[in-house]
Amino acid sequence: MSATDAAGPAAVPAPPAPPRAPAPDGSPGAGRRTARRRAGRAGQYLALLCYLVFLAFPLLWLVSTAFKSPQELGSVHPTWLPRHPTLDNFRTAFDEQPLLHSALNSLLIAGISAVVSVAVAVPAAYAMVRFRSVVSRAGTGWILVSQMFPLVLVIIPLFMVLKNLHLIDSRLGLGLVYVVWTLPFALWMLQGYVRAVPVSLEEAAAIDGCSRARALRSVVLPLLTPGLVATLMFSFVTAWNEFFFGLVLLKSPEKQTMSVILTHFLGAEGAADLGPLAAASVLATLPSLLFFALLQKRLVGGMMTGAVKG
């Protein structure tokens, strides 16, 4: 726990120091002040280092474990980096569990549900921003309230409803659930993007004889595209990473998503084959990590426009 302790509350650093005009040379306080400022800087770098260690070391360990040979994994003196990097763990992982198949399941379920979720969220977000009324307030309220309920309260009736519809243990059923599951956030983000589209453009289109539907399609939508892409990716990542619904709603191994398949590596007693476990985990993270890397700025920006102005 050393990393955590070091980076804990004690390390909460000083608030940002505004740029100060350098004290004129020779003034009595100048030397002391620069010394103190230097010490402050050093303290900040030390704190930053602690954070970097805390954030990075589990990740490094995961990736390193994924490339280690069985001999090295069994060694009493583990090393940070694999001495003889190998891909064996990945091969074993694919042999042990239907990884590829589960990845395709996840891709399909998360992809389709993200598309549907965003498709229904766009008009709704537009309506919530442009027609402010009882319903848009109710919508915002629902977005917040939906965060409050423990999933067990939703999953039991959902389980029964889907069972009656013969959608238990069905990828379609899980996809439908994910549409609703990702919807609050999609709405949240998209509202921010819709607000950023100037109404004057729509008015101009209306004056030129555009119907609202036409204005929506050919004026608003193109301007929303970057926001749409960001929301789409975010919904995808949310569904790809989701675990609880997948665990409850899918029983046959050939239908399960990657998150659920990963837990099979843990075995009944929790005794796991560490190498393949790490290898499969690395693979499961790659798609969402890729999206985040590509869209980092936009995702954060989108969440913020939704959150700060919401």
Binding site: M1, V12, A47, F54, L55, W61, A127, S146
Partner: protein, 321 residues
């Protein structure tokens, strides 16, 4: 938004020359203050939400008052508050409830303090800032199952890096079994919760910090205010509303969390990390007690709602004074 009002021509006389459609027809189409266009736009989202979210939620609440069991749908009977009476005496549930509250408070507080520290650092012009920024976002992109697995590898008593490092630093003898120890399991799991939840909080706080007016800082600094003084008088007041909402949300998310601990310990050892969601999950999907588990869920919501109401009211009152 004033802009929105302009686009609602049917509500009032339109400014300028546009020829608005007659108000009377529009008024006839209005339901709940929305005209037909708006309903048409909302409907695609409304239907799935009603069918798969609001509906099941209401149904779930009603299930809490029945003896519904998995697989036995025909003979479900309304049992009134029986479930809650039974729950009141269920010491195991209350144990998990206490653990859940403890976990949620610890994780939320640590998450907040650490994220505030990181956000303040990232708001500075420091050299390795980009690396920290990127790293701080990574946990967000990771499936919680992977986060759990990753930390199991770190905590592993034999092959884990934590024991090894601590041993090298002569801090422990390097044989600690973190996740199986009755006293260490919960703290160990809390650390993972903090790690996993830091990105959101950091990003939100960082956005809040960027709203802090720099001129105020400079003015305070010219008046001779030190770092701490400037933090409490300038930064904190601006940040406060953001802190309020993110802390409340984090608390709810943490109290209701499931996957992370499911993968790390499955509630063990000896129920020391058995969060209420894990407990209710077992009750519902291992023992098939749907009605009873739904009652647990309802109790969880009720307590969270009360706590939040108290928390938010106190904070709002403080803000007023």
């Amino acid at each position: 938004m004033s802009a929105g009002a302009v686009l609602r021509p049917r509500r009032g006389p339109r400014r300028g020359a546009g020829s608005a459609p007659p108000r009377s027809t529009a008024a006839r189409r209005r339901v709940l203050g929305l005209d037909r266009d708006a309903w048409f736009l909302l409907l695609p989202a409304l239907i799935p939400v009603l069918v798969l979210s609001v509906g099941p939620l209401l149904y779930g609440i009603s299930l809490a008052f029945t003896d519904a069991q998995s697989g036995v749908t025909s003979s479900t009977a309304f049992t009134g508050v029986d479930n809650f009476k039974e729950l009141r005496l269920d010491s195991l549930f209350w144990q998990s409830f206490r653990i859940g509250l403890l976990w949620a408070v610890c994780v939320t507080v640590l998450q907040f303090l650490m994220s505030l520290g990181l956000a303040l650092l990232l708001n500075q012009n420091l050299r390795l800032r980009w690396l920290a920024r990127t790293l701080a976002l990574v946990p967000w992109a990771m499936p919680e199952v992977v986060v759990g697995i990753m930390w199991r590898l770190v905590y592993n008593p034999d092959a884990g890096i934590l024991n090894n490092t601590l041993h090298h630093l002569h801090l422990t003898d390097g044989t600690t079994d973190w996740l199986s120890s009755l006293s260490l399991a919960l703290p160990a799991v809390v650390v993972v919760g903090v790690w996993a939840g830091m990105p959101q909080t950091t990003v939100v706080l960082l956005a809040g910090l960027q709203n802090v007016p720099l001129e105020l800082h400079e003015a305070a600094s010219l008046d001779g205010a030190g770092l701490w003084r400037r933090f409490t008088t300038v930064t904190w007041p601006t940040l406060r509303p953001v802190v309020l909402s993110i802390t409340a949300l984090n608390f709810i998310w943490n109290f209701n969390s499931f996957g992370l601990v499911y993968v790390l310990t499955s509630g063990g050892p000896g129920g020391k990390t058995e969060l209420p969601m894990l407990f209710a999950y077992d009750e519902a999907f291992r023992y098939g007690q749907f009605g009873y588990a739904a009652a647990m869920g309802l109790v969880m919501v009720a307590v969270i709602a009360v706590l939040l109401a108290v928390f938010l009211r106190n904070r709002l009152k403080e803000d007023e004074s």
